[in-house]
């Protein structure tokens, strides 16, 4: 541990915003301090944190819902972390991280820790370092961490891996999008939140969704399709109560642990790829095989004696 990483660690324990911010940057940018820092984090805090993933198509009101959830969690005196993810431009590599705007009411609350992150080239809807950021926030005392993602079609699988519980947010009027999504995410989401439920079509949407979620509801005896009107703070308490009950349920019968193990494995592989990528790119030019990608890949692997 360097003095720098020691200082950051101390800062995390003190809930110092600057330290938290810098620690997350360190793991995001994979600096020298990152590895030391991550291995020194308090494992109990990480084990006990609840990670909620919030995903869904644009326009469903995710940001507003997130803000309402934060408000309610704060009323319950919980220390909350939020990771808001926005897509990086594939052309410039830059990003507008605009989810923050809806959370500015919490800007001066020391127990709301927000970090905006860009996907930085990843297609999975989340950035590579979201997992590490979650652990940093947990180590700084956050009891519940909300991750709000980009929400475009099939690419939310990352969130499901990373979160303990995944909320999918829809709103009436998204008919076509829902059809497209049925194949993937709906099956893995834990809760379906019908936001803007004061709009026409909400009932019909709920009924559709209840069909899909009926097996899960039966199994856990918890209602999984819920209605909210985030702009009016309606349905938020019920949602949090259900999430809470579900959290106990998955902890009690080992589901949470299994999910975490799976996530750990998946993230490890991600990191292996991330770390090897620059080396492979560098070495690629030296490959004798020029045309077939699969053959070339095998050659690269052989070069690194990974067989």
């Amino acid at each position: 541990m360097t003095p720098k990483s020691n200082a950051l660690l101390a800062g995390l324990k003190n809930h110092d915003p600057r330290a938290i911010g810098r620690a997350i940057s360190a793991v995001e940018n994979n600096t020298a301090e990152a590895a030391a820092l991550l291995s020194a984090l308090d494992r109990d805090l990480i084990d006990n944190v609840l990670v909620l993933g919030i995903t869904g198509p644009p326009g469903a009101g995710k940001s507003t819902l997130t803000s309402s959830l934060i408000r309610r969690l704060r009323e319950q005196k919980k220390r909350v972390g939020i990771i808001a993810v926005d897509p990086s431009s594939p052309i410039s590599g830059g990003a507008i991280l605009g989810d923050r705007i809806r959370m500015m009411e919490h800007a001066l609350d020391p127990d709301v820790v927000v970090r905006s992150m860009a996907t930085r080239g990843r297609l999975g809807g989340l950035c590579a370092s979201a997992g590490a950021a979650v652990r940093i926030m947990a180590a700084s005392g956050c009891e519940v961490i909300l991750i709000e993602t980009v929400g475009v079609g099939q690419s939310e699988m990352d969130i499901v891996r990373l979160a303990d519980i995944t909320l999918m947010v829809l709103a009436p009027g998204f008919g076509d999008d829902i059809q497209a999504m049925k194949a993937g995410l709906l099956e893995v989401a834990d809760f379906l939140v019908v936001n803007k439920s004061d709009m026409a079509g909400a009932e019909a949407l709920c009924m559709d969704m209840e069909q899909i979620f009926s097996a899960k509801e039966e199994e856990s005896e918890i209602k999984r399709v819920l209605q909210t009107v985030a702009t009016e703070n309606m349905g938020i308490s019920t949602l949090l109560d259900s999430v809470d009950r579900f959290a106990h349920y998955i902890t009690a019968n080992g589901i949470k642990e299994k999910r975490r193990d799976k996530a750990l494995d998946a993230e490890t592989i991600d990191w292996v790829i991330e770390m090897l990528r620059p080396k492979f790119i560098q070495t690629m030019t030296e490959c004798s095989e020029k045309s077939d990608p699969r053959v070339r890949a095998q050659e690269l692997i052989n070069t690194f004696k990974l067989q």
């Binding site: 600057r18 938290i20 940057s25 940018n29 990003a95 991280l97 705007i101 800007a107």
Partner: protein
């Protein structure tokens, strides 16, 4: 533009009550097109909110916009709030409807650069890039 290193992070915000965000939004997008990660905090923010957000997000630069004439009061306040929160090293740039004679005052109060209306976007982006680079270099040395 950052190719090898990780993207620079900047915060763009409007302190005070002024609601004209056309310029701020354009700069935010232009910065994004140059590879910056831009945290846009919108209008009607207090200096404290802007500073707290900048610290949380660990930005390299803070950019402020004001068209209501309140810059002399509000821009230095953001600098102060950053300092109070341990972010004295984060450079602050400002732009908007700002008469030339206020520029020196603002620079004395700790602003890094000021852009009056009509300044080409390229000039502004160059300033952000330079300030970000300096901030990163300074960080690396610590």
């Amino acid at each position: 533009m950052t190719t090898q290193q990780t993207p620079y992070r900047v915060l763009i915000g409007k302190p005070g009550l002024d609601g004209h965000d056309r310029g701020a939004k354009f700069i935010a997008r232009a910065l994004r097109d140059e590879g910056f990660e831009v945290i846009y905090t919108g209008i009607r923010r207090t200096a404290a909110e802007i500073a707290a957000t900048a610290i949380q997000e660990d930005v390299d630069v803070v950019g402020l916009s004001s068209l209501s004439g309140a810059h002399l009061r509000l821009f230095p306040e953001v600098v102060r709030e950053l300092k109070d929160r341990g972010g004295a090293d984060i450079p602050v740039l400002g732009g908007g409807v700002i008469p030339d004679e206020d520029i020196e005052l603002l620079l004395k109060e700790g602003l890094n650069a000021i852009f009056t209306s009509g300044t080409p976007a390229d000039t502004i982006i160059q300033s952000f890039t330079t300030a970000s680079q300096q901030h990163r270099d300074h960080d690396a040395q610590k």
